[in-house]
Symmetry: C2
Subunit: 214 residues, 2 copies
C-alpha cells in the first residue's frame, strides 16, 4: 500500500498497530454524509464511490476510488459525503485519534496524506471543468480516458465496475444520455463495447482530442 511505503520494519510494525482491516460486499454503505468522522480509510482491493445527495434524491458522485486511494478525511466532526462499495472491497481503517498520534511519530505519513489530498483536489477541479463546461460527448470521452489510465493502461480493453446510473451521476448526465453517447462513440469507431460493462479504446488520439474540447 502506498500509504505505508518507505517505512522501516520497526515503523511499519508501529503503523500496523493503529489500523484495522475490513472486507465488505458490493453495495454496502461504509459511512454516510454527516456521520461522525471517526476513521480514515484506504482501499486495498475493489472499488468505492463517494457521493452527495440533495433532499429530493438527486445525486452527485464526486469520485470513484480504487486500490491505493484513501477517503474519509474531514475537517469538521462529520463526513462531507457518503462512501459506498461498488465491488467486494478490502479496506484499511485508521481511527482518527490513533492516526493523529502516529503523525507525530512519523511525519512522513502526514506529508503523504497532504500530497494525496492535494491530488484529490486537483482531480476535483478537473471534474468541475467537466461538469461546468464540457458537452455530454466530451464528458464521456474524458471519463473513459481517465478511467482507462487509472485502471492501468496496458491493454485498450477494460471493465467498467460501475453501472450506467453511477456514470450518469458522476458526469452530471442521465443514464439515457450516457447510453446514447457511448453508442455514438462506438458508431464513430472511437471505442468498442464488447458488452455493457467492457470498453475497448480504439482511437485514443481522437478520444483525447474530444476530451480536451479540441
Amino acid at each position: 500500500m502506498a500509504f505505508c511505503a518507505g517505512l522501516s520494519t520497526q515503523q511499519f510494525r508501529r503503523f500496523m498497530t493503529v489500523l484495522g482491516q475490513a472486507s465488505i460486499d458490493p453495495g454496502v454503505t461504509i459511512f454516510r454524509e454527516g456521520d461522525p468522522a471517526l476513521n480514515l480509510y484506504t482501499i486495498t482491493a475493489g472499488a468505492v464511490k463517494l457521493y452527495k445527495l440533495l433532499s429530493d434524491g438527486r445525486r452527485q458522485i464526486t469520485a470513484f476510488l480504487f486500490p491505493g486511494d484513501f477517503f474519509g478525511l474531514s475537517v469538521h466532526e462529520g463526513y462531507a459525503y457518503t462512501a459506498e462499495s461498488m465491488t467486494p472491497v478490502v479496506l484499511c481503517r485508521f481511527p482518527r485519534r490513533k492516526l493523529e498520534a502516529l503523525f507525530d511519530e512519523l511525519p512522513m505519513l502526514e506529508k503523504k496524506l497532504l500530497g494525496a489530498t492535494t491530488q484529490e483536489l486537483a482531480a476535483a477541479q478537473e471534474q468541475m471543468l467537466l461538469l461546468g463546461r464540457k458537452t455530454a460527448r466530451e464528458r464521456v470521452a474524458t471519463f473513459l480516458v481517465v478511467l482507462w489510465r487509472r485502471l492501468g493502461d496496458k491493454t485498450p480493453v477494460f471493465a467498467l465496475p460501475m453501472s450506467r446510473s453511477d456514470i450518469a451521476d458522476f458526469l452530471g448526465l442521465t443514464i439515457e444520455t450516457v447510453s446514447r453517447t457511448l453508442t455514438g462513440l462506438k458508431r464513430d469507431g472511437l471505442i468498442a463495447l464488447p458488452d455493457a460493462n467492457h470498453v475497448a479504446i480504439q482511437r485514443l488520439d481522437d478520444l483525447l482530442c474530444i476530451a480536451e474540447g479540441g
Copy 2:
C-alpha cells in the same frame, strides 16, 4: 493571518524569514496553469479567482478566494490552475523549498495546510454537486448564500467583487442566465439588487431552501 496563528514570538520570526509579500493590481495573472509551482500564496487582502481553460476558451472558475485563503499547492511540478486577482490584492508568498524546510521545524504548519486543503476539497465537492445536479436558480441561490457567509454575514447587504462573467464561469452558466436568474430572485422578493454589484438578502430561509434543492 490564520496560517501563522499560534506561533511563539521566536517561531514567528523564523516564519517571517521564508515569506515575501506582494501587492498587485486587479486583473493581474499571478500564475498560469502549467507554470512551475514555485510558490504557495496566502491572501492578506483582496479577492482572487482560480480557473481552468479548455483549448477553445471555455473557462471554469474553480474558486473565489478571500483573506485567509491559500492557493498554489501542487503535487507535480506545475500549477493545476491559473490564479488571477479580482481586486487590489496583498499576498504572502512562500517559496516551496523554504516552506518544506520550515515544515520540519514547525509541524503545526503542515497540519494547518492539510486542514485547509481538506476544507478546499470539501468546497470542491459541494461545487461538483452544484455543477452536476442543481438548476440555474439553485446554483445562483447557493452562490449568494455561500458568498454572503464567507464575506461575513453581519449585514444582509454585500458587494459582489466579481463580474457577471466570472459568476457565470463559476456556476457553469452563461452571463445571460445569471442575469435573468438574479432578476427572477429579485422579482420574487428573495433578494434586492441596489446596483449591479450589490446584493441584499431579503428572505434567507427561502433562499436556503432553494439552494438545498428543497
